[in-house]
């Protein structure tokens, strides 16, 4: 119970570092659109495989931490992460049965939803125009899912079976 939660926070820490690690100074700012959302992947993994330990409260705090490292409005990621955790929790038994490709598709839809919500919030908050470039993050994040799954699954197995 406590061990998956600890593992969640540790892996989330790694994900946060990956989230803010700087691009080379010469890279165009637009390259930022292609960043995978590591924290969403880690959150989805643990919600799916350890739903008794990692829930919506953890997701909310994780979202606040992401807000803080990315400098977005406090609560923006917290809101989307709670929604992601809720969806993950209610579907976790089905998600576990899916193949990696199907799971990646779910990741794509999840991140797309989160990005659209974020873009809406930004539009409301500061009149920022929509950019279709927001489609890249879901694609790249979905492509990274097998990677994250492959890295975390052995850790999950080592921690013992879930309920």
């Amino acid at each position: 119970m406590a061990r998956p939660l600890l593992a969640f926070w540790l892996t989330l820490g790694v994900a946060l570092v990956l989230t803010v690690v700087a691009l080379p100074p010469l890279a165009p700012p637009a390259l930022g659109w292609f960043r995978p959302q590591w924290a969403v992947l880690v959150l989805l993994f643990w919600v799916m495989t350890a739903p008794e330990a990692v829930g919506m409260v953890s997701a909310w705090v994780a979202g606040l931490l992401v807000d803080s490292v990315t400098g977005s409005l406090l609560g923006q990621h917290a809101l989307t992460y709670v929604l992601i955790a809720w969806a993950g929790l209610s579907l976790h038994q089905r998600l576990r049965m899916y193949s990696l490709v199907q799971q990646a598709l779910i990741v794509f839809l999840t991140v797309l939803g989160a990005e659209v919500l974020a873009a809406l919030l930004l539009r409301l908050a500061r009149g920022q125009a929509f950019s279709l470039a927001l489609l890249w993050a879901p694609v790249v994040t979905a492509l990274c899912w097998p990677l994250v799954y492959g890295a975390l699954a052995p850790l999950r197995r080592w921690l013992g079976p879930s309920l």
Binding site: L18, G32, V69, L74, A133
Partner: protein, 264 residues
């Protein structure tokens, strides 16, 4: 919560707590770059040393003239009876992070609350104005850059003192200078410096250079673009200008109550 953070300052303390909590992560993310920088620095140090000592002696000579000018300036100001410009404390800070969000223009520097940096402090680079502090943690602070969509800088044209605003248009895009008509005297290559109006930035620091002036006499307003002076994407070291004792600076004295408005 999102609305509270956007509309009010009620969550500033929460932001400080979280910023402090995540700053070790940001320092960690910066480690590979710090290592690389250290390596290249190590190699470049000796030639830099020679170049810098030459530069230093040149600057020292220039400075002698400056102190004479400063004294003269003070005398003239005394004659005019106007207040002397007081500049607050300067602190050097290194850039340790940038926001991963391509829609925002922000930096993170390695000085924070603990080193006396406060919200609203002006951030300067060697070439010109960089931005202002919008969030502080114990060991780090977040800088909103002048090219962010949410940032406007009150400026004057250095050549003729024409007042204007330089609005950010998003990361990498040139600033927009709105509300100028074709009667206004603004040309390509004009340098915009901070005007000091609004009180957030001390006057006289270079902000941007005009790179495009479009529009004919029949248009109501000109479309003026200006490229920031400071290399906002390649900054490594900045200076944070804090107001001494946390008091509002003398240049923030309102001209009239109606004019007193926080910019950006």
């Amino acid at each position: 919560m999102v609305i509270a953070d956007h509309r009010t300052t009620a969550l500033d303390t929460v932001r400080t707590v979280f910023a402090t909590a995540v700053s070790p992560l940001i320092y960690t993310a910066h480690l590979p770059y710090a290592g690389l920088a250290l390596l290249s620095q190590w190699r470049a140090t000796s030639e830099d040393n020679a170049r810098l000592s030459r530069e230093l002696s040149r600057q020292a000579i220039a400075l002698q003239r400056l102190s004479a000018l400063e004294a003269e300036n003070a005398r003239l100001r005394a004659l005019l009876g106007s207040a002397e410009r007081v500049v607050g404390r300067e602190r050097f800070a290194a850039v340790i992070g940038v926001t991963p969000d391509p829609r925002r223009s922000q930096l993170i520097v390695d000085r924070g609350d603990g080193q006396g940096i406060g919200l609203g402090d002006a951030v300067l680079g060697a070439e010109g104005l960089v931005g202002q502090i919008i969030e502080t943690g114990a060991l780090s602070a977040r800088v909103l850059l002048i090219d962010d969509l949410a940032h406007s800088t009150p400026v004057v044209v250095l050549r003729n003192g024409l007042r204007a605003l330089a609005q950010g248009q998003g990361p990498g895009a040139p600033l927009s200078v709105p509300y100028l008509s074709s009667q206004d005297d603004i040309r390509l290559g004009d340098v915009l410096v901070t005007s000091g109006l609004g009180g957030r930035f001390p006057p006289g620091y270079p902000v941007a250079r005009v790179v495009a002036v479009e529009g004919s006499t029949s248009d109501a307003f000109l479309a003026v673009r200006a490229e920031p002076m400071a290399p906002l994407r390649r900054l490594q070291d900045v200076v944070v200008l804090s107001v001494a004792g946390g008091k509002r600076p003398p240049w923030d004295r309102p001209l009239a109550p109606a004019l007193r408005r926080d910019e950006s």
